[in-house]
């Protein structure tokens, strides 16, 4: 194996005497070794990486070189001289003179040097004639001097002039001044970059030095897929409900009848939420073909006449209005279906239900509102549940979400009584913000279904988007949900650890 460039360099350095001013110029060394300068610089860098073997000081060297045009002038003479010499003694019309070697550049330079004269009154137009007998090609001589490496001897003005004529180029060369380092040795072996199967097999890794890694650089990102941040939060919330013993409700029905969405929940038919401005009604299929007959009659009665200890709303309840199909405005419509099924069981058994799914509102859109969002809902049905139980469950649930400071505000929901809004103290905003809504389902809702009188149903709900936006610091909901999502945000989103 022939010695490496690094080894050659070390050998040369070894011969250098010590003392101030000692050392090697990388440019000269490369020339002496017959190497490309960059190759030598590579060796310098690899030696530097070893520590104190060598010292290398970066230097910038300025050098003058001929441009391609300069090389031409060096060979053929300057344009002005070439023009002057090709001009016949009797001269030529100006237009013909311009076609001579040297061309217009040569003409204007020769005119500026007063080597030529223009006879304007000559017959057949202006005529160019020589004004002097002989000329000297100073430009060519200067370039010859540069070519000999004596550019520094030229007057500054002349160099600038040649540079302006694009005949000379000023080149900055980066080079190194190399000296022995404190740990200088010629016995530096070539460093290995990586461990190879061969080294492992032969055990040669034990003898070889390895090039150090740059630990301050980032690694290569893995090629991988990513989960959507909102759905990561959904997974965590599902997990929380499952940890708390809640069973998942089948909410995979976006189309719902007004009956299950409103009437069954004791929401009167003139309620503002049933307005065109708030709810998406369907054109096709416009009406639900089927409502549960006996139960529907009971719902009609409790709305229009009351009963079960209630005054009712006392209005004319219309079946046609209840059959109007819509896109569900809350998942509570599914809770109503589940409670109705529960009531039809032979014997009541306590249940805990949850769901997280899409709901739809015909609202005006802005940075925090979309026409569809995800509702998180929890429902518990058992005998003898109290408002204190609801608050206890809410505390458990929100603690698992990482929200520990809670307080409760009286509120109004058409289908719960008592109702309470859940507020939590927001450290960032320094105020109490609403984080959910909750309540005890009204008897007018439960008793027509046929649930036993001593059964209470407590429930709460919140949106999935709001805690997600807070968790991931997203201000515009459109960047989170829907096709205008920023995929980079999806790629970069961290794990969802709600209580961390």
């Amino acid at each position: 194996m022939s010695p490496s460039v690094a080894e050659l360099l070390l050998q040369r350095l070894e011969r250098e005497a010590a003392g101030p001013g000692a050392g090697l110029c990388s440019l000269e060394t490369a020339a002496a070794l017959g190497l490309d300068h960059q190759t030598l610089v590579g060796a310098v860098k690899s030696l530097q990486a070893l520590g104190e073997v060598i010292e290398a000081e970066a230097r910038a060297t300025r050098r003058w070189e001929l441009s391609p045009e300069g090389v031409e002038v060096l060979r053929d003479g300057s344009p002005e001289v070439r023009l002057f010499r090709s001009l016949p003694a009797e001269g030529l019309p100006q237009s013909d003179a311009m076609k001579l070697p040297g061309g217009s550049v040569g003409f204007s330079k020769a005119m500026a040097n007063k080597w030529l004269r223009l006879e304007k009154g000559a017959p057949g137009g202006p005529r160019v004639v020589r004004a002097v007998a002989e000329v000297q090609d100073g430009v060519q001589e200067s370039l010859q001097q540069v070519q000999r490496g004596e550019a520094e001897n030229l007057p500054e003005r002349e160099r600038t002039d040649l540079k302006r004529r694009k005949l000379l180029l000023e080149v900055t060369l980066k080079s190194y001044w190399i000296r022995k380092g404190s740990a200088f040795s010629t016995a530096v072996a070539r460093q290995e970059t990586e461990l190879t199967p061969e080294m492992i097999a032969t055990g040669s890794w034990q003898q070889r030095p390895f090039k150090p890694y740059n630990f301050s650089a980032l690694g290569l990102p893995p090629a991988c897929g990513h989960l959507h941040p909102l759905l990561k939060v959904r997974s965590q919330l599902r997990q929380i409900f499952l940890e708390m013993g809640f069973t998942e409700m089948p909410t995979n029905n976006f189309v719902e009848s007004s009956f299950w969405n409103f009437d069954a929940l004791f929401q009167p038919q003139q309620h503002p939420a049933r307005d065109q401005h708030d709810t998406f009604f369907l054109q096709d299929p416009a009406k639900a073909p089927e409502l549960p007959a006996g139960y529907t009659a009971k719902v009609k009665k409790v709305h229009s006449q009351g009963g079960y200890g209630s005054q009712g709303y006392k209005y004319e309840w219309r079946l046609e209005e209840a059959r109007r199909n819509l896109l569900r405005t809350h998942t509570t419509s599914t809770s109503a279906r589940m409670l109705y099924q529960l009531a039809r069981q032979e014997k009541f058994s306590p249940v805990k239900y949850f769901s997280i799914d899409r709901v739809f509102r015909n609202e005006s859109l802005d940075a925090t509102h979309l026409a569809e969002f995800h509702q998180v809902e929890g429902v518990v049905a058992d005998r003898g549940l109290t408002l204190g139980h609801l608050m206890g469950i809410l505390r458990q649930f929100f603690t698992k979400l990482g929200i520990t400071q809670l307080r409760f505000k009286p509120a109004y929901n058409p289908y719960t009584e008592p109702s309470m809004e859940v507020f939590s103290y927001h450290e960032g905003l320094k105020k109490w913000v609403e984080v959910g809504n909750s309540g005890v389902f009204r008897p007018e809702l439960l008793l027509p279904m046929g649930l036993p009188e001593n059964v209470s149903v407590i429930a709460w709900g919140l949106s999935l988007e709001r805690p997600t936006m807070i968790k991931y610091g997203i201000n515009n909901i459109r960047e989170l949900v829907g096709h205008r999502v920023n995929l980079q945000m999806v790629y970069d989103s961290p794990l969802c650890r709600l209580d961390a």
Partner: protein
């Protein structure tokens, strides 16, 4: 939730003390109100129309207070103050008194049968010897507007008219006439118009135009006359100018007409209970007679006090507290529900005043007891309800698949369930009728015309919005699509779909095909014809000819995969080749 705007200083004066903003906010929170905003007229105008226009506007501090939607008795300063003062036990709830004038001296409103098809109900009452001030008058007008917007459902259910009784003479007639036969000078106008002209006049009115549709297409319009033929009002549009009230008005005739008699009675009760405070004999209301077409006469306002009996045990058990009956009675009394212990000491008798139409059931009484007790004073407990949790099998499968799809290098998208008809049909080269799409009747924009029938458009739009991202883009979504289905109780159903797209400089069919193989492997469906899955060449309008296959598994077609048609790519504003896969995952449950 309605918002009531009151002058802070006026509020504090009426409450007999001042509060800091924080203190008042706390009081609201405890009572179930929300101090939504602290502002001034100047602030409001400045925000809406710019600072220039706000010059000279009042900078009196206003509190904007959110009131629960069923508490009509809190929709004005008078009601708010009364509610809070009773809550803080600074005053006793006043008793509202109905004064029935001697036979033949009271006001009468006669309903004719023509009203039956347009606005069949009317109720009326008189506020006698009232003293208005500028503030009281403004509050009176404001309350009517708040009631109109809320319980009256933008005047559809009930419309309120208030008149200076001294300018008219009864009996009054509530009838309905052809628009051309009704002629009067509407409120604040300078000349007379026929009803038809009035409708034209208000067609561009920013406020009134919203009510025109309520009667516009009816052959007869409702109208109220006095005994001399003076028009009081043409409900639910406008009053006559003749009977206009001012701060100098002493006797107010109130009529409420509507399509819902229950709500009309509530509205009348609220107006008279709130403003009888300013009558010479406070909290007294002069009754009026309403004569129905069948000759039946009813005296209004109802001002009914209803009694309910609730066991104190019941209240304690529902809330989770253990208060004595007398203490519960005291709590309820603080909520304007005058209560006392009766019988053997365990029952509480509660009197529901005419202002509290929201109390329909014992559960409403329980809530008021809980509010007065203080929600945040209730001991939190964990219910002993023992249950075993179950996941919905479809969601369980979805969760498992999502993780493995991300592990396969695809990124999860979350797109809208609603889209334009164009997205699911035209852009995919299909006719909308072939999609069985569920159509929305009242979309505000084209983005919400139908529920999606396929996940593909959402993924393609996601790519279009992320064209600056490095290629390839590999996206997937597992979510529901919706189609009409006459066999379900609502006529439509969801299907859980899985869709994936690969977008790069070359179509990468083999990558999408490989993903299908991987998914089938995960689902333990082998690649064979007997009991596994196969793909067979087919054509699909969204796919490039010869580059589309149908996927068969579990004995049925479950979806398609292939290279998208260049027309589809262009229509979704994309420029690169793209292959896609979409299947229904429900057969794999």
């Amino acid at each position: 939730m309605p918002t009531v705007s009151v002058k802070r200083d006026l509020l504090f004066q009426a409450l007999g003390r001042t509060y800091t903003d924080e203190e008042f906010n706390e009081l609201c929170f405890e009572f179930g109100l929300e101090l939504d905003e602290i502002t001034s007229e100047k602030d409001i105008i400045s925000k809406e129309k710019g600072e220039e226009k706000a010059k000279g506007a009042s900078d009196t501090i206003l509190y904007k207070i959110d009131v629960p939607a069923n508490r009509y008795d809190l929709l004005c300063l008078e009601g708010l103050v009364r509610g809070l003062q009773v809550f803080k036990e600074r005053i006793n709830l006043p008793r509202y008194e109905k004064i029935i004038p001697p036979q033949g001296e009271g006001q009468r409103l006669i309903i004719t049968e023509e009203t039956v098809h347009v606005r069949p109900h009317a109720v009326a009452a008189v506020l006698r010897n009232i003293t208005f001030t500028k503030e009281r008058y403004d509050s009176f007008i404001d309350l009517q507007e708040k009631l109109h917007q809320n319980i009256c459902r933008r005047r559809a259910l009930v419309a309120i008219g208030t008149h200076d009784l001294d300018t008219i003479s009864g009996p009054f007639t509530f009838t309905a006439k052809a628009p051309s036969e009704i002629k009067f000078k509407p409120l604040n106008q300078s000349q007379e118009y026929t009803a038809s002209q009035i409708m034209d006049l208000y067609r561009t009115d920013s406020h009134l135009r919203h009510y025109l549709h309520l009667i516009e297409n009816k052959p007869l319009y409702p109208v109220i006359y006095d005994s001399n033929g003076v028009v009081l009002s043409m409900p639910p549009i406008i009053n006559g100018d003749h009977t206009k009230i001012s701060i100098n008005t002493r006797n107010v005739f109130i009529e409420c007409t509507g399509t819902d008699i229950t709500k009309a009675k509530i509205v009348l009760d609220i107006i008279v209970t709130m403003f009888s405070e300013y009558c010479e004999k406070p909290f007294s209301v002069e009754a009026a007679e309403v004569v129905y077409p069948n000759g039946k006469t009813i005296i209004y306002p109802e001002l009914a006090y209803r009694k309910e009996k609730v066991k104190s045990d019941h209240i304690n058990k529902k809330i989770g507290i253990s208060e004595t009956p007398s203490s519960l009675a005291k709590l309820l009394t603080r909520m304007c529900l005058k209560s006392h212990v009766i019988g053997n000491g365990n029952n509480i008798e509660i009197e529901i005043p005419p202002t509290r139409a929201d109390i329909m059931h014992a559960c409403d009484i329980v809530e008021d007891a809980a509010i007065a007790y203080g929600y945040n004073n209730i001991q939190m407990t964990i219910p002993k309800t023992y249950t075993i949790a179950n996941q919905l099998p479809l969601n369980k499968l979805t969760e498992l698949l999502r993780l493995d799809l991300a592990a396969a290098g695809f990124t999860e998208a979350l797109t809208f369930a609603l889209c334009s008809q164009e997205d699911v049909a035209d852009k995919l080269g299909m006719d909308i009728s072939a999609t069985k799409a569920v159509r929305i009747a009242n979309p505000k924009t084209a983005e919400f015309q139908v529920a999606r029938t396929t996940l593909l458009p959402g993924l393609l739009k996601t790519i279009a919005a992320n064209r600056k991202m490095p290629l390839p883009l590999k996206l997937f979504e597992i979510s529901d699509i919706v189609v009409k289905d006459p066999n379900t109780d609502v006529g439509a159903r969801n299907y859980r779909h899985f869709c994936a797209v690969y977008y790069n400089k070359s179509p990468g069919f083999e990558i999408i095909h490989g993903l299908l193989d991987r998914v089938m492997q995960l689902l333990e469906v082998p690649p064979n014809e007997e009991n596994g899955y196969t793909i067979k060449a087919t054509e699909g309008s969204a796919f490039f000819p010869g580059r589309c296959a149908e996927i068969f598994a579990k004995g049925q077609s479950v979806g398609k995969l292939g290279v998208l048609h260049p027309d589809v790519i262009t229509k979704f504003e994309l420029t690169m080749p793209c292959s896609a896969l979409e299947i229904n995952i429900e057969p794999f449950l």
